[in-house]
């Protein structure tokens, strides 16, 4: 399916533009019943995808630990209170 592959790559803003276009088309009111039902379903689907996109990521605050030229790991970032000085590398 063309769509399934696409959803991941299409940026959020493009979906927003599509939604706005759908609103305009519907508000102009020149569509046939079939067309407006079709476009309505498309709009609902897009807004669902958008919401999914907004909720997709999980909150995660991590700190990168570089262990060598090509080696690294991550650990949870813990806020150490400190001055705006640097004692890390």
């Amino acid at each position: 399916m063309k769509n399934k592959k696409k959803n991941e790559d299409v940026p959020f803003e493009e979906y927003l533009r599509k939604l706005e276009k759908i609103v305009n088309q519907l508000e102009e009111g020149e569509l046939t019943l079939d067309e407006s039902v079709k476009i309505y379903e498309e709009g609902m689907n897009i807004s669902k995808i958008c919401l999914e996109k907004l909720n997709k990521t999980k909150k995660k605050i991590e700190q990168l630990v570089i262990e060598g030229e090509e080696k690294y790991s991550t650990k949870p970032f813990s806020e150490k209170k400190g001055e705006d000085t640097v004692n890390d590398s």
Binding site: E13, Y72, V86
Partner: protein, 409 residues
């Protein structure tokens, strides 16, 4: 002026103009730097700056016009040690000489400042600052990295503000030196590292809180500028306070005045987005509903008009038509009849007036031959002895012709 020209008299303006020319022709007084401390600084409402530069033994008046001072990177003030660049010349209205300042840099920062200007010019020429190569940041970032000190206020601000705006964000903190000799190199290396192993990052914020020019210097170094330029991942530069501009700011895909501002500018407000979405969604629903209502309305009006055109209705219509028609026909006929009656009446009146009886009534008479009832109009129609009848209004007289007598006109 020597003894021989004692008799020569100058006006005040002439002599001042002459002195002014002397100043202006002396290259030792043109385009020079003067080191000193600012004193008696006044920013006039016209935008021009007036002050005095002094050292322990001496002082010189200075003026810096608005056109020049608008590009200053700091606000001069009393007690500041500065280097001022300009021409010494004469203000002939008052007969005073002064330094016409074109540029001021804070003393001690001179070398760095010049290095900054040189590198800026060089990288600009190479096209590292050009707007066309700047990458666009996605509207909804999901994975971002922040290269900064893990203990500074900057990282705390970025995390707090980012999560407030978008609670389910993934932030990778990449610790780095942000000041000192090795800072630029280290930040550059980390940008390269992220480009290699974290290709999915939406963008990288590099930055630190405010500080002196020296403290911010890492962000003015060429090695970092080149790394930002080469990064495939968009870079957001977030260095210091509002007024500090660094080379990194110019090369980065987005410049923000402070780390907090970087978070505000790059992380969307999730609640806003959700609101926008539901507004769009309800707009769509409303529009479809309205379309449906319109279509239903249309259907009703079409079916109504169909009913009017059905066969039953047609027959009724015909009946009505016929009724109307016959009524119209009746009235037409009546009218015609009336017209005829009128005409007949008129005609009969006319007939009356032409009737011979009407003439006879008035005393005329008609003569006819008895056999044949031929009306006698000429003498030659009759002989003596011809039997005739004379018709008068109430009867006739039978007679016989006695004599014919012609009437001569």
């Amino acid at each position: 002026m020597n003894n021989y020209t004692e008799s020569k008299i100058y006006t005040v303006s002439k002599i001042n103009k002459y002195i002014k020319k002397l100043f202006e022709n002396d290259f030792n007084l043109q385009d020079i730097w003067i080191l000193g401390e600012i004193s008696n600084f006044k920013l006039h409402s016209s935008g021009h700056m007036y002050f005095v530069l002094k050292d322990k033994e001496s002082q010189i008046r200075c003026v810096m016009f608005r056109g020049n001072n608008c590009i200053l990177r700091f606000m001069p003030g009393d007690g500041m040690k500065v280097k001022a660049r300009g021409d010494v010349s004469v203000y002939d209205k008052r007969g005073e000489y002064q330094l016409y300042v074109r540029e001021i840099i804070e003393a001690g920062k001179g070398e760095l400042y010049l290095a900054f200007e040189r590198l800026k010019a060089k990288l600009k020429d190479e096209g590292l600052f050009s707007e066309e190569i700047k990458k666009k940041l996605p509207l909804i970032p999901q994975n971002i990295a922040v290269i900064t000190s893990p203990t500074g206020a900057a990282i705390r601000d970025v995390i707090t503000i980012s999560l407030r705006r978008f609670p389910n964000l993934s932030i990778l903190v990449v610790p780095s030196l942000v000041q000192g000799t090795f800072a630029a190199q280290e930040i550059a290396k980390k940008i390269d590292f992220l480009n290699k192993y974290f290709k999915d990052l939406d963008f990288i914020i590099i930055g630190r809180g405010g500080g002196s020019l020296e403290e911010l210097w890492a962000f003015n170094e060429e090695i970092l500028a080149r790394s930002i330029y080469n990064s495939k991942i968009p870079i957001v530069s977030a260095v210091g306070h509002e007024t500090d501009f660094t080379i990194s700011d110019f090369v980065a895909d987005l410049r923000s005045p402070t780390p907090s501002a970087a978070a505000e500018m790059t992380i969307p407000d999730k609640n806003n987005l959700i609101n926008n979405l539901s507004v769009l969604k309800s707009k769509i629903t409303r529009a479809v509903k309205r379309n449906l209502e319109l279509k239903t309305e249309n259907l009703y009006s079409v079916s109504r008009s169909l009913k009017y055109q059905g066969p039953e209705n047609k027959i009724n219509q015909y009946y009505q038509y016929i009724d109307e028609f016959s009524a119209r026909l009746n009235s037409r006929i009546m009218h015609q009849v009336e017209l005829y009656e009128e005409r007949i009446k008129k005609d009969s009146q006319r007939l009356d007036s032409l009737s011979p009886w009407a003439v006879i009534e008035r005393g005329y008479s008609i003569c006819r031959k008895i056999p044949g009832k031929e009306i006698i109009k000429r003498l030659n129609q009759i002989e003596v002895g011809t039997k005739i009848e004379v018709i008068i209004s109430d009867g006739k007289i039978l007679s016989k012709v006695e004599k014919k007598e012609a009437v001569s006109n």
